[in-house]
C-alpha cells in the first residue's frame, strides 16, 4: 500500500490540506479509518476511493481528512496541565487583567469538546463571571463532525468516566438514558467553530491563553513552526501556551520559553523576575 501512487497522493493531500504527516508505520490505520468513508460515499473499496480523490471532490477530500484525524480525548486529560492552568496561569492573568477583566482563551484542537468544557468547569469554579469578568472561550477543530458533537455536548458513560470526577459529573451534567448532557451554563461558555490550523487566524481575537495539546506532533517541522509562529502572533505578550506534557521537551517549541517547574506551559518571552515569582508556585 505504501508504495502505491494513490497512497502517496493521500499522504500528499493530508500534508497539503491539513499539515498531517502520514507516517509509514501508521498506514495500518488507513483501512480502519477510511472504510466508513468508503461506505458513506458508496465506493467499492479503498483503492476506488483513493483513485477518486485525484478529482478533488471537496466533500470527499474533507471527509477523508476528517476520517484521518485523531479525535481521542478525555475530560481533564493530562490533569497536570489543568492544574497548571488553574494554579499558575489563571491567578497571574487575574492579576494582570484586573483592569479590563477580560480573558480570551483558545483551544486549537478540541475534538468532541472535552478540553474546552474542562476549562469551562475550572473557570466556573473560579467564579470569574460573578466578579464581572468577561470570558471568551473559543474552541476549534478541523473535524466538523467533532465540532457538531462538541456543540451538542452529549457524552457516553464511557467518555465521562475518563477523567471526570463523580461530583463534577453529577453537578455539571444531566443523565439522558445511557448518556450524559453537559449543562447549558457550561455549553454557553464555549464558542465552537470548525477551523483548519493551516488557514488564516485573522478571525481570532488576541488570546491570553492558547491550548495546543497533542496536535503539533502530527505535523512536520515546517508546519509546526508555522503554526507556532501564527499562534505567537495572536498570543498576548504575557500570554500562555499550553502543549501536551510529552511535547514540552521537544525542540520544536521555538520562540517560546518553558515556564519553571511546569511541563507543557510556555510563555512567548520569559516573564520579568518580579512577575515570575508570582507565576511559579
Amino acid at each position: 500500500m505504501t508504495h502505491c501512487p494513490d497512497y502517496s497522493y493521500l499522504a500528499n493531500v493530508l500534508l497539503r490540506r491539513a499539515g498531517i504527516v502520514l507516517a509509514e508505520k501508521k498506514t495500518h490505520m488507513i483501512e480502519t479509518r477510511l472504510m466508513p468513508v468508503v461506505r458513506r460515499f458508496g465506493f467499492r473499496d479503498i483503492p476506488s476511493l483513493l483513485k477518486e480523490l485525484h478529482y478533488g471532490h471537496e466533500a470527499l477530500v474533507q471527509a477523508v481528512i476528517e476520517a484521518m484525524t485523531t479525535n481521542d480525548s478525555a475530560f481533564f486529560r493530562d490533569r497536570k496541565t489543568f492544574d497548571e492552568f488553574r494554579d499558575i496561569v489563571l491567578p497571574a492573568l487575574k492579576e494582570a487583567r484586573s483592569d479590563t477583566k477580560q480573558l480570551k482563551i483558545w483551544c486549537t484542537a478540541c475534538a468532541a469538546g472535552q478540553e474546552p468544557y474542562s476549562i469551562a468547569m475550572l473557570l466556573d469554579d473560579a467564579k470569574l463571571a460573578d466578579e464581572g469578568w468577561s470570558i471568551t472561550l473559543v474552541a476549534t477543530d478541523i473535524n466538523s463532525q467533532m465540532i457538531a458533537r462538541a456543540q451538542e455536548g452529549v457524552y457516553s458513560q464511557f467518555e465521562v468516566q475518563r477523567g471526570l470526577p463523580i461530583r463534577r459529573l453529577v453537578s455539571n451534567f444531566t443523565q439522558e438514558g445511557a448518556n450524559w448532557r453537559i449543562s447549558d451554563h457550561l455549553r454557553r461558555m464555549v464558542t465552537f467553530r470548525t477551523f483548519n490550523l493551516l488557514d488564516s487566524y485573522g478571525w481570532l481575537p488576541d488570546c491570553d491563553v492558547v491550548f495546543c495539546r497533542n496536535v503539533l506532533m502530527y505535523f512536520d517541522l515546517k508546519t509546526r513552526a508555522s503554526v507556532l509562529e501564527r499562534i505567537g502572533d495572536i498570543l498576548m505578550p504575557d500570554g500562555a501556551l499550553l502543549v501536551g506534557p510529552a511535547e514540552s521537551m521537544d525542540s520544536y517549541i521555538l520562540g517560546y520559553v518553558l515556564a519553571d517547574s511546569a511541563p507543557g506551559l510556555f510563555y512567548k518571552s520569559r516573564p520579568a523576575p518580579a512577575r515570575r515569582l508570582s507565576l511559579v508556585k
Binding site: 458513560q157 464511557f158 470526577p165 463523580i166 459529573l169 445511557a178
Partner: protein
C-alpha cells in the same frame, strides 16, 4: 499492603477485579451481597471498596448508607460500579457516601486511574 473489598454478585466480576487489584498490589477480599460485605467490614475494615451499584436484596446504595452510618469520616474509600445499560443514580450514590464511580466492564487502566484519583495508588 492496602486492602480492597470487592462486592459483586457475579463471581466472574469479583475474580477479574481481584486479579487486577492484586496486580496493583492490593490485598483483596470478596463479598457477594451487601450483608456479607457489612460483615466483612466489621471483621476488618478495608482501605477501599469496589461496590456494585446493582446488588440484589440490599442494594449497593443501601449497603453504603449502612456502612457510612457505622464508620466515621470518609474511610473506607468507596468506588461504586455502574453499567451503561443499568446506570446507578450517581447523585444518590454521592449522598450515600460514594467517592468515585467506575463503569463496567472495567479494566486495569481504568481501576488504576480511579484509584489514583482518590489517592490510593
Amino acid at each position: 499492603m492496602k486492602t480492597c473489598l470487592v462486592v459483586d454478585d457475579s463471581r466472574v466480576i469479583r475474580k477479574v477485579a481481584c486479579k487486577i487489584l492484586a496486580d496493583l498490589s492490593f490485598e483483596t477480599m470478596e463479598a457477594e451481597n451487601g450483608a456479607e460485605a457489612l460483615m466483612a467490614c466489621r471483621r476488618k475494615m478495608p482501605d477501599v471498596i469496589l461496590l456494585d451499584g446493582q446488588l440484589p436484596q440490599m442494594s449497593g446504595i443501601d449497603f453504603l448508607k449502612s456502612l457510612r452510618s457505622e464508620t466515621k469520616g470518609n474511610h473506607p474509600v468507596v468506588l461504586i460500579c455502574t453499567t451503561e445499560n443499568d446506570p446507578t443514580d450517581l447523585s444518590e450514590a454521592i449522598i450515600a457516601g460514594a467517592d468515585e464511580y467506575i463503569l463496567k466492564p472495567f479494566d486495569r487502566e481504568l481501576i488504576a486511574a480511579k484509584l489514583a484519583e482518590v489517592g490510593l495508588v
